[in-house]
């Protein structure tokens, strides 16, 4: 795709995401008509419909979109950094690394302000990713080595999380819903709390697109082009973890978005790393927004966690990609 087409594609995806979000404003325990929604959006009043849209549904849809974009960019950066099509926040242990310490803080240090959670998530995600990277020699080992390390780290943290849940007793139900991944009851404050991290991740990736693009070659080639690996590798890794640190405290783990969105973006063959990042972000936002709408409209009045929906749809897509042999990064899988 030429830059123009890429721009158009991003625009279309964003419009689709906005349409999905609009649809999300209408459905729920109380279904609203399009006219009501537009009227209330333009002129909020104190009535039920207005409250419903402005305090419940709108922030939630926006949080889903921002979260999706962040996860997708994180997946893109991780996949490129490791040249590993398997890499995503889930499989490298970043998500589990962010989630587990937050659960522990919630249970054992309840007086700690949630304002610190993204920082805890960042530290935990970085620690987990570092272990995974150490095992796979900076991601330069075989793809399976990275995946094996990451999945082991995830299982380790998952076992601890389950045990902590066991110890908490009555609280475990709400923690579990959070662990299933979702945006139920997320408000403006949640959104504002997440947004800086997501924006930092997406904008950072766009600004550093040239460096990220160089990692797509090989370490040798990147070093040959004058890239200081010792400096940039850790920096790019931090960049990859930043959006996850924002999303994890709000939505819990939302699986497969970081894996699927970049792959779909690459299938569209945009020319240039920046466009790939943009497309990934837009696709991530679209996927999670649609999943969120689906999750809350499929079983009214109950809600499914969004994590289930992304997994249910992402899994088969992923397997289809594997079957078709399309699951490749820069044309080959080492």
């Amino acid at each position: 795709m030429s830059p123009r087409q890429s721009f158009l594609a991003i625009g279309l995806i964003v419009v689709a995401a906005m349409l999905a979000a609009m649809l999300g404003l209408l459905v729920g325990a109380k279904t609203l008509s399009v006219e009501t929604a537009i009227r209330v959006l333009l002129a909020p009043d104190g009535k039920l419909e207005s409250v419903l849209i402005w305090t419940l549904r709108l922030p939630r849809s926006l949080a889903a979109a921002a979260g999706g974009a962040g996860l997708a960019v994180s997946g893109y950066v991780l996949q490129t950094l490791t040249r590993n099509p398997l890499a995503d926040p889930g499989i490298t242990g970043v998500t589990a690394g962010s989630v587990a310490p937050i659960v522990c803080c919630f249970v054992f240090v309840p007086w700690l302000s949630p304002a610190y959670y993204p920082f805890i998530g960042l530290a935990g995600g970085l620690a987990a990713a570092s272990v995974t990277f150490w095992v796979s020699r900076g991601g330069q080992g075989r793809p399976l080595q990275l995946a094996l390390g990451g999945v082991s780290v995830s299982l380790f943290l998952g076992a601890i999380t389950t045990y902590v849940l066991l110890l908490t007793g009555p609280q475990s139900a709400s923690l579990l819903f959070w662990l299933a991944g979702g945006f139920q009851g997320r408000t403006w404050s949640h959104l504002l709390y997440m947004l800086p991290w997501t924006i930092a991740g997406v904008v950072g990736a766009l600004l550093l697109r040239r460096v990220i693009g160089m990692f797509m070659l090989s370490d040798h080639a990147a070093a040959g082009m004058g890239l200081q690996l010792g400096l940039w590798k850790p920096l790019i890794l931090i960049l990859a973890v930043i959006p996850v640190a924002g999303v994890a405290p709000i939505a819990g783990p939302v699986a497969f978005v970081g894996l699927a969105a970049p792959h779909i973006a690459r299938l569209l063959k945009p020319r240039g790393t920046g466009w790939e990042i943009g497309l990934s972000a837009a696709l991530g936002a679209l996927i999670v927004t649609v999943a969120d709408v689906f999750a809350r409209s499929i079983a009214i009045p109950r809600e499914l966690p969004v994590g289930i929906v992304t997994a249910l749809f992402g899994g088969p897509i992923f397997i289809y990609l594997v079957q078709r042999g399309r699951l490749s990064l820069a044309g080959e899988m080492r």
């Binding site: 995946a147 076992a159 139900a173 991944g181 289930i308 997994a311 899994g315 079957q323």
Partner: protein, 330 residues
Amino acid sequence: MIAALAALALLSLAAAIFLGVADIPMGDVAAVLTGAGSAEARLIILDIRLPRIATGILAGIHFSLAGYLLQTITRNPLADPSLMGVSQGATLSVTIFLLFTVYIFEPGSNTLAELPVAWLPAAGLAGGLLAGGVIYLLAFRLGLSALRITLCGVAVGAVLHAVAIGLIAGWGSARIEIILEWLSGSLYARSWDHALFLLPFTIACLAMLPVIHRPLMLLQFDAPVARSFGLGYRRQFSIVLIVSCALAASAVGAVGPIVFVGLIVPHLARFLAGRNFRLSLVLTIVLGAVIVTLGDLIGRLLGQAEEIPIGVVTAVFGVPLLLALLRKTM
């Protein structure tokens, strides 16, 4: 090596019988084992500790052997029942079973008393086999490529796990704790029934080992190489996969997903046995039993009243070891 291993196995067995939260003097334990002893000691040893140990040993063998077989045929160190979707399939079906029997049999009831716990292993087995079947079909459609099978296994596992967690979160209510406890992989309150449930699978699968031993050695190679040795590749691959799924699914049904045993024990065994294939197989079986027995003992002793599930213990000890091995050997 064999002598040291046998000594280790016996020592861990003895420790598991003699040590526990209930403080019973050594002499009393010995008396119980020879047929005497007080009623209380007999109850604790014969009805609580021994069945628990027996279940643990069998489950340990199941997990480690299943991991070993999967790792060999997929030529992939990642392969493990819990990474290939088998454990998650069993988890999902047990979750569904636990959650929805309430709605079917006793709507509105929140008591756990009437729960048909005895059916749990069967439910786990069914779900595990079903998930194994999906992987199996995908594996053949993918032309038996190790990397692709693993990718699909991971994907299927992640989907099933997400659905299970979602169901628990959405419908769990009063059952959450019992499901969580099962989910963390625990030998708590396992009875002779659990051991007897596992035993036929253990015997049948161990009896298959001499039969699949030679094919298994050849399955380590690429399909063309294996075929040139006269191996019916697809058939043998299927047989080993089925044996492995049966082992893993039955064990998950009985004790929940004890994840790291199937992943790490085969690595450990190959590390110790070097290129000796037969020895590594034997080591896998023995070490699987030993590690689960010891892990459960540690969890029992450390946690005291609120014991630590074996799944957590194996994870805490298993991961650093696995990561070190991984970095060293790959």
